[in-house]
Amino acid sequence: MLKKIAEHRYVIPKSFREGMTIEGLIYANDELIRQIEKDETLAQVANVATLPGLVGRSLAMPDAHQGYGFAIGGVAAADMDKGVISAGGVGFDINCGVRLLVSDFTLEEVKPKLDALLNQMFRDIPCGTGKKGVVGLNYEQLDDVLRNGAHWAAKNGYGTSADLEHIEETGRLASADPTAVSNRAKHRGRDQLGTLGSGNHFAEVQYVSEVFDDEAAQTFCLRQGHIVVMIHSGSRGLGHQVCTDYLEIMQSAMRKYNIQIVDRQLACVPIKSPEGQNYLRAMAAAANFAFANRQMMSHWTREAFAKVLGRGNLHVVYDVCHNIAKEEVHTVDGAERRVLVHRKGATRAFPKHRPELPKDYFEVGQPVLIPGSMGTCSYVLVGTEKAMEETFGSSCHGAGRAMSRHAAKKNITAEQLIKELKAKGVTVRGASKSGLTEEKPEAYKDVSQVVEVVHDAGIARKVAKLIPIGVIKG
């Protein structure tokens, strides 16, 4: 059924399943498409293509794998007037995302003090299951966080306003409305602000090992041999509960709008409906929680650097959302249209000269941050015109899981894994031993292959490669 239409591009025709109104398109090489075909990714990309009011194609990035309703690594754009918003198309971890900080330390300067630095970061950044944040907020203050995101954090002493320029949406979605967020979601999130979480979330100390694009790397202040810190985290229990709440609301409301879906996890409502608008306001609030979260952890990272190495003047390269829906203007079939782009495990990848870009990146494009699995490498890419033409300005988001958690735990203990990573030059601090083995590098696809496909297909361009030397895991 799958038709290769060009290098790294596989189309799922409308005949794949009943009800598809648009085609599916998967970006992959021969090996990655074989992995993708093993699970339900193709069926899920096709299922998404049955949702009302979608335009273009239902897309999957090369890191795609089976998710819930939407595949992880999926992108779909809905017409603002005729289309739908799906809470599952954003996912449970709203604005799960990645931030990159760059330091002026070299690898040689940090190496002798790495253990002390990791210990300090592990102490200062709350992480792991059931871990509470150190910031006690009342509900009024939490509403302030939900309205203002990273702006709240910067105003309250976590970093500076200069950081905000280098965050997608400056770290605040203005459409956020805390009254659209349930008390339950606020209960879940209140104590979790400023926590890393568990699972695949991490903070990594890395160095720039290779530069592919001198101009972009220079613009992003990435110099070979210099130390950077990557933080991967999301909106914690607050975002998870917002998604749970609105899946329920959307399921009930669908009858009213006469919407039929093929998978209950794809529950959706018209964008312009009261339920759709409320979801978008709540989603924006949860996204702001995640922006504030990463801003606070950046602050503690800087403090840890200052305590151990004498200075903590790390600056923000960029901060991207992986799970989000954004209203954007794109050219579809030759005409400009306002669409709502669902990115479920996908990164915005805007090229140069877009008004959304920070001023200092205007002539280069948006940094696209691609974390690899634990102990492997990560990448910085830059957005391209091709992404605007083909993928609603989107690209991949990481390595993508290839193995179940249970399978990952087989044949290896946490001690063995820590030793193996140490031999590769990566020191690990993990809150949970079983959590560590579930995240072993082999449980994921090869991030370098994923990035090569994206680069060769032209939907983002390689800028720099980052190699980890220390990992903090929840």
Binding site: Q66, T129, H187, R188, G199, S404, R405
Partner: protein
């Protein structure tokens, strides 16, 4: 709530629970036991306090998701960690249960995984004369 009454399922990204019982009520109870085993060591929880739960839903699928979401919420939203559950009544549109447990204490209760949510992915509810089976996947 014997452990053999549920098993943990593999999924590329996350985990699932398949629970069985002589009745659907028992299968729902066992699914809750499965969820709790993923979050924590159930043996470490004392049944010090009881909570009454009443849920309404559109059908059994909806009810199963709501039931497990409720237990997850008690832990993540109210710091109340459930050790035992007893469903008093179950119909396609309503569930009443008494759950017992105690306030979460990081020094006493070890936790394994943070569960983000309960999903409808491949959700299955099977009622047969020989027994009942439910299947549900969790986002981790």
């Amino acid at each position: 709530m014997a452990e053999s009454r549920y098993r943990i399922l593999e999924h590329p990204a996350d985990v699932g629970i398949e629970a069985s019982g002589v009745s659907l009520k028992e299968a729902f109870e066992n699914a809750a036991a499965g969820l709790l085993s993923i979050i924590t060591d159930v043996e470490s929880i004392d049944a010090a306090e009881e909570r009454y739960i009443r849920l309404t839903a559109t059908d059994f699928d909806n009810l199963l998701v709501k039931w497990l979401s409720e237990i997850l919420y008690l832990y993540d939203g109210e710091d109340f960690i459930v050790g035992e559950v007893e469903i008093e009544s179950l119909s396609p549109t309503q569930l009443e249960a008494i759950v017992s447990g105690e306030p979460y204490d990081a020094n006493k209760h070890s936790t394994h995984l943070d569960v983000k949510a309960v999903t409808y992915h491949q959700l299955k509810i099977q009622q047969k004369k020989t027994g009942c089976l439910v299947r549900v996947y969790l986002d981790i």
